[in-house]
């Protein structure tokens, strides 16, 4: 099915995210009409905010070492917390990991029927931090992006999910500090520039690549690219991410052809 339209959804908590610039980039690279909408659950309002808050609260991961089994009954505090966040989406969601696929399912369920088509790509930017459970090492991993329908790009995940430089963690361990310790900020300064930080001015540039990942995944069915210079590269380290998204900022030759085909109105798969 041809891609006719891309919608990007705002994350009001991300002060340095210029989603209009991201939309312009997607439009230019892929030639698909792309527009910006309010945050996902504001653009697609739900009838019962309490119920939606409870559904989101049920996706909160409380044990990283086990696949999520939603708490039953759900502690009222969790639903009330999510309700507050739905009402004040400019607040960043701190320190909470959500099951990415379950969260994606909730977003999908509120899409209007007319837009539940692969001819439309929905990319929801959010401050919520999604994770996915990895059977290989039996634990949850935070993700910057959960590809699918709709795709989720997490502005918290871009900061938290790819690992910071190895030396950063070694120093953090040797100092025996956590993030509330004042020395943590000093440590971050030592590694400044080598990872994406909160309200980082490079966020928009990084978001451009992840928006392309989301849209091209829907077109090609391929999640990532193996080329470390391609913006579709699946970065596990912050330095890899910044290299692909900021230093390179380009698609690889193979994915450029896909983009060209898309601009020319041809449906293609990368070879």
């Amino acid at each position: 099915m041809d891609l006719r339209r891309v919608y990007l959804y705002k994350d009001p908590s991300a002060a340095t995210l210029d989603l209009a610039a991201v939309a312009a980039h997607v439009r230019q690279v892929l030639g698909v009409p792309t527009s910006v909408r309010k945050e996902f659950l504001r653009h697609h309002p739900v009838a019962d905010l309490d119920e939606t808050a409870a559904r989101i609260a049920a996706t909160r991961v409380t044990d990283l070492s086990r696949p999520l089994v939603p708490m039953d009954p759900l502690p009222p505090a969790l639903a009330l917390f999510e309700r507050r966040l739905l009402e004040t989406s400019e607040r960043r969601v701190p320190g909470v990991l959500y099951d990415g696929f379950r969260l994606q399912g909730i977003l999908r369920s509120v899409l209007p029927r007319a837009e539940r088509t692969l001819a439309v790509a929905h990319v929801a930017f959010t401050s919520r931090l999604p994770g996915t459970f990895d059977d290989a090492d039996r634990r949850y991993h935070a993700r910057a992006v959960v590809l699918g329908f709709p795709s989720i790009v997490s502005t918290s995940g871009l900061v938290e999910a790819p690992a910071k430089p190895r030396g950063f963690y070694a120093a953090k361990r040797s100092l025996r500090i956590d993030s509330a310790d004042a020395r943590y900020e000093a440590l971050k300064q030592e590694y400044a520039g080598r990872f994406l930080d909160w309200d980082d001015p490079r966020l928009t540039q990084v978001a451009k690549g992840y928006a392309l990942q989301a849209v091209l995944h829907q077109v090609t069915g391929e999640p990532f690219c193996d080329d470390a210079d391609c913006v579709l590269f699946n970065a596990h380290w912050q330095e890899e991410m910044l290299h692909a998204q900021v230093e390179s900022g380009l698609l690889c030759a193979r994915h450029r052809k896909v983009a060209e085909a898309l601009r020319g109105g041809r449906r293609t798969r990368p070879r």
Binding site: L64, P76, L78, L80, F81, G95, V159, A182
Partner: protein
């Protein structure tokens, strides 16, 4: 010539009794009861009182202030990260900038200033009084607290069989630290659950505590370290900014609710039940 005015023993007794009785009579039915007189509870009470809200702090110890007297490792220097030093400005407590954005002040100075500021604002403090239970209203909404003297609780039940008393209120703020005693009371009835520590992805624990501060159950706001235990946030290092700002956020949330009428349990509004308590 004696220095002091004469006063008989009975007059002193009557003065204590009438002052106490007047306060208790007033706060038997109040807008907000804060359980726990640590930094978050005091901060919440102070901000509420400054906005004209009737508020009483219940503290089980004789001394008020919780852990705010002492920093880490029994060293009585308090640390706060920006922007929490603005609270010290407000209460007139001097401090020094140790490094960029990190401030230090003597614990006794900060704690005594905060206690004084809380009382100056008009909050009532009831010390040596322990929270015992919650008062439950329609739809399982919390409508007050059951309290008793701390010494009564401290002695074996066989010796002290003393019934508690109750205070009615629109909102309870649970600022009881890691114990989250109010939430625990709800948990015993199967109405709430503390998630406990750990199991979360956390890089900004102080932010997390402040952002999670708010209504945790109809009629109950959690603040301070009670937030950690309610939501499963890990404990923080010896720094107090989140405690003060969590207390402030608790007051903001309470003010919003009091202004529009305290939300009753889910569905009560739809059923046409009053959201504000009759007083």
């Amino acid at each position: 010539m004696p220095i002091f005015q004469p006063a008989s023993e009975k007059e002193v007794t009557r003065a204590i009794l009438s002052g106490f009785a007047k306060d208790l009579d007033r706060y038997a039915d109040t807008e907000v009861v804060v359980i726990g007189g640590g930094p978050s509870g005091l901060m919440a009470a102070r901000d509420l009182a400054k906005h004209g809200v009737e508020v009483v702090v219940i503290e089980r110890n004789n001394y008020i202030g919780g852990g705010f007297w002492i920093g880490g490792f029994l060293m009585n220097t308090i640390t706060l990260r920006a922007p929490a030093q603005k609270v010290l400005d407000e209460i007139g407590c001097p401090y020094e900038e140790f490094s960029k954005g990190l401030f230090v002040t003597p614990g006794p100075h900060a704690c005594s200033k905060l206690i004084a500021a809380t009382m100056d604002a008009g909050a009532k403090i009831q010390n040596m009084t322990s929270f015992e239970d919650i008062v439950i209203r329609e739809d399982n909404r919390v409508g007050g607290v059951v309290i008793n003297w701390t010494p009564v609780q401290a002695l074996p039940h066989e010796i002290t069989c003393v019934d508690p008393i109750a205070l009615e209120c629109d909102l309870v703020i649970d600022a009881t630290g890691h114990d989250a005693l109010v939430i625990q009371s709800l948990e015993k009835r199967g109405l709430a659950k503390r998630i406990g520590e750990g199991g979360m992805w956390i890089e900004r624990s102080e932010d997390a505590v402040v952002e999670h501060t708010g209504l945790a159950y109809p009629g109950v706001i959690v603040a301070g370290m009670a937030v950690c235990s309610t939501y499963g946030l890990p404990r923080m290092g010896p720094t107090f900014g989140a405690m003060l700002l969590s207390g402030r956020r608790a007051a903001e949330e309470a003010l919003k609710m009091l202004k529009k009428g305290v939300p009753a349990a889910k569905g009560a509004e739809a059923k046409g039940k009053p959201v504000a308590r009759k007083r």
